[in-house]
Point group: C2
Chain length 104, copies 2
Amino acid sequence: MDEVFKALADASRRSLLDRLHAKNGQTLNELCEGLSMTRQAVTKHLVILEEADLVTIVRQGREKLHYLNPVPIHQIGERWIRKFERGKLAALSELKRQLEKRDE
Amino acid sequence: MDEVFKALADASRRSLLDRLHAKNGQTLNELCEGLSMTRQAVTKHLVILEEADLVTIVRQGREKLHYLNPVPIHQIGERWIRKFERGKLAALSELKRQLEKRDE
DNA sequence: TTGACATGCAACTATTTGGTTGCCTATTAT
DNA sequence: ATAATAGGCAACCAAATAGTTGCATGTCAA
């Protein structure tokens, strides 16, 4: 879980996930196109995404195809974000009460 | 949005949010209890959480009360995670097809 | 009013991170 | 066979991060 949060912390990596969401199964070179960093930098980001299990690779000849795995993202939604949505309204109203109390 | 992802990337900060979720409106010293880092380290984490608008503070005398703001977490769920959940099944089946194709 | 308590500020440090360059290897096409 | 293509590896670098220590300030209670 920590690895997933860490992987998602970088905007370049999130944009790689976006690109895979738009078009799945891209090669490394495809994913490098239009980006202002070297292929090696992109490789490093993809390794981090693989280690967080957000991307799965399939080697085909000299090419490396990258596939998005949406499961960890879904799990963050289910196991982490939802927890804070329960009681969301309660938290906000408590804060509001406190802010008003300050000016008494 | 980037600030929120960055703020959530650290396990100590996520656990601070958890603690505020369990008991809202805690002081700095309260939040430090039981943690194996100095008060100053906790302060730095809280500043990052404030800047990401995940925590709101209310000063009361010499104390500083911390309140959880669940809105940015909710927004990540809505604006980011949901996007990847649409088409989740499609992505997985495409990957499966590709993995099988490899062994033909 | 003086001491205890809650927090703030600044300087410093070690480690991690995001990126680079240079070169090497494996596969495909001519 | 050989050149072009796709990717891998390792060393290096600068900046950001997570933490520390030491001291200062503001507030409350005896």
